[in-house]
Amino acid sequence: MKPLRIRRIGIFLFVVAFATISSASARQQMKTTSSSAARPASAPLDPSEAKSLGSKSAPITIEVFEDFQCPACRNFYETTLKQLIDDYVVPGKVYLIHRDFPLDMHPYSHQAARLANAAAQLGQFQSMERALFDTQDQWTANGKIEDAIASSIPPAQMKKIRDYEAAHMNDINASIEQDRVMGVKRNVSQTPSIYVTSHGKTEALPGGGVDYKLLRNYLDYLLRQ
């Protein structure tokens, strides 16, 4: 074999290998949770993206309109969402988006939503959501949210979240309001309200939360389509 031909084959193989590795790496990147880690602090994340989990290219998108002070939302989070994240979001089957829908009947839900939005911009939405729901009973009683979640969010991190919230209060309020208006347009009247989008079609699930087994059956049905 001539040396020139060998060199050409070598270049060809290198290009093919590079393209394969690049596309695999891109796919892997798509699968990871949206995070602000790679972004400069000055460029805020898209609020929806910051409050989402999973791959945008997942075949199913689930939007959940939630109020952090709503007991049904906590129940839905504890009994359904946690399992959904493990079984469907992490494997890349579902893209999960949190939408804020603070209800006027709950005096501390706006405050909780602001903290969650600030945490989201710092890439801490999941831990904040978990902390808020896990300690809902405590802070609902007295409104002292930061005291209640102190065991879950380290003080240094909490300070960053508080500082971000203070510095970007208007943006955060606008983001919450944007979600709320979206909910009103979709006739959301209670929380949690769940919307499932698959094959370009969005379906509203019965309001008030859904049992995990029933939701899993529905998602498996959608994935089989």
């Binding site: 209670q190 699930l205 008030g208 939360g209």
Partner: protein, 168 residues
């Protein structure tokens, strides 16, 4: 002769009105069941023949009354049962039995709804579509339907009894 003519004229409307009311009652009740079935199969802007049971199952499950397997089974068959019951009521076939089934079904629904309401469960009724909140209005409405179903059932039995008496 004149006396008997007066008696038969007075008796005629007495026999016609109950029957007409019964027909009206069963058609209204049948139509209500047809609408209930329709809203469980057609929602969110389209037909859901393939996946209606997932949505309806979620609504049934929120009552916290049945195990998941029973919820899934009920969600699959109930819309079709309502459809059949509605059609049978409108046609007037086996009216006494269809009246009993409709009354029993509504009694079960109202029992479950009342329990959920007393327990302050903020859930969907699941009566007409999957996104109708359970509340006093849904209880009053379903109770009115139960009154109608009972009236149709009693009417069907009375007319049958009358027929038997006339033929014997």
């Amino acid at each position: 002769m004149a006396t008997s003519a007066v008696v038969s004229e007075a008796q005629a409307p007495a026999r016609t009105w109950p029957r007409a009311l019964l027909v009206l009652g069963r058609v209204i009740l049948g139509a209500i069941f047809l609408v209930a079935a329709y809203t469980k199969l057609h929602f969110n802007g389209g037909w859901h023949f393939g996946d209606y049971h997932f949505f309806f199952g979620m609504a049934i499950n929120s009552y916290n009354l049945l195990p998941v397997w029973a919820v899934e089974l009920l969600a699959r068959i109930l819309p079709w049962f309502e459809l059949m019951l509605g059609a049978v009521l409108i046609m007037g076939v086996g009216l006494r039995w269809s009246g009993i089934f409709a009354s029993a079904l509504l009694l079960v629904f109202i029992g479950a709804m009342t329990r959920a309401y007393i327990m302050h469960l903020e859930i969907m009724c699941g009566c007409f579509g999957n996104n109708e909140k359970l509340g006093p209005w849904t209880l009053v409405r379903d109770s009115s339907m139960l009154v109608l179903a009972l009236a149709v059932t009693i009417g069907a039995f009375l007319i049958k009894k009358q027929r038997v008496a006339v033929s014997s």
